[in-house]
């Protein structure tokens, strides 16, 4: 028998009558690293999301069970390491 998808889910989300507008971030560092990736995509890659997306797929595949925003952080670190020196 399979285990429940996410035990916390039924309590924290599915029982709520309205789910729209739910905050997507659990901690400030998560929204910060999200916005930092947006900044790099916009200002270092001219809006091209592909380089970051490729790093994100790599980071998620490398450690599938790592929390998502930590993979996101690793992906951004890897991308930033490829930026040309000033």
């Amino acid at each position: 028998m399979s285990t429940p998808l996410n035990p916390a889910l039924s309590l924290s989300e599915l029982d709520l009558p309205r789910r729209n507008g739910e905050l997507a971030f659990d901690a400030p560092w998560q929204s910060t690293v999200f916005a930092l990736a947006a900044a790099v995509v916009d200002h270092a890659y001219g809006g091209d999301r592909e380089p970051f997306r490729r790093q994100l797929i790599k980071a998620v595949a490398a450690e599938p069970d790592r929390p998502y925003w930590e993979s996101w952080t690793a992906a951004l670190e890897a991308l930033v390491a490829t930026l040309p020196d000033r």
Partner: protein
């Protein structure tokens, strides 16, 4: 002096890494002042799932719009002023009495941000991504979405090329409602396809 005073519990290793990234990127001039707050605010409020709810309500209220939406999702969504990053290639799939659609991204977390805001935490969980493809009926039931045995379930795998949005069925008893009232009925989860209305 206690050990804790040297290592404040408030700052975790991941927070340190993010702070280091922020400092380095700011120094390189890639993060304008106020940019982080502005981006966060926009994704959490303006760009949230209410955009998608407006699209769904319009499709329920206007059969011609529904037809355009199902034919060319990107253009029909743009008619309402939504689009941009991550919404370039929208494909809208309609639920019927016989067919239930659900979206997932098996590779990472591709998601129609302009219409649904930021993805919920579980959408990014490896178990959701893997199991929804393998055993959608079971996963949906675990999430509180029990479907009749003869309902066909279609799982759509989002990618950088195509972002899917589920058009839920219009609930019965809503015939006299305005578009705004209809939009208020639409939940994010119903547009991912893990809930029915």
């Amino acid at each position: 002096m206690s050990e804790e005073s040297h290592h404040p519990a408030a700052v975790s290793p991941i927070e340190r890494r993010v702070a280091a990234l922020e400092a380095m990127l700011t120094e390189r001039g890639l993060v304008p002042g106020g940019f982080i707050d502005e981006i966060t605010r926009r994704y959490e409020s303006e760009i949230g799932p209410m955009n998608g709810a407006k699209v769904v309500a319009r499709a329920w209220a206007d059969p011609a719009y529904k037809k355009r939406l199902l034919t060319d999702g990107t253009a029909a969504v743009a008619e309402l002023g939504f689009g941009g990053a991550e919404g370039d290639h929208m494909v809208v799939v309609a639920n019927t009495a016989a067919i239930h659609n659900v979206i997932v991204c098996t590779l990472c977390s591709c998601y129609p941000w302009p219409v649904l805001g930021l993805p919920p935490a579980w959408y990014k969980d490896p178990p959701y991504r893997a199991r929804m493809v393998r055993e959608p009926r079971t996963v949906l039931a675990e999430m509180g979405c029990e479907l009749p045995g003869d309902t066909e379930i279609r799982v759509w795998d989002s990618s950088a090329e195509v972002r899917y949005l589920v058009l839920p069925e219009r609930p019965s008893g809503t015939e006299g409602m305005t578009e705004a009232e209809l939009a208020a009925l639409v939940t994010r989860d119903s547009m991912i396809g893990v809930a029915r209305l």
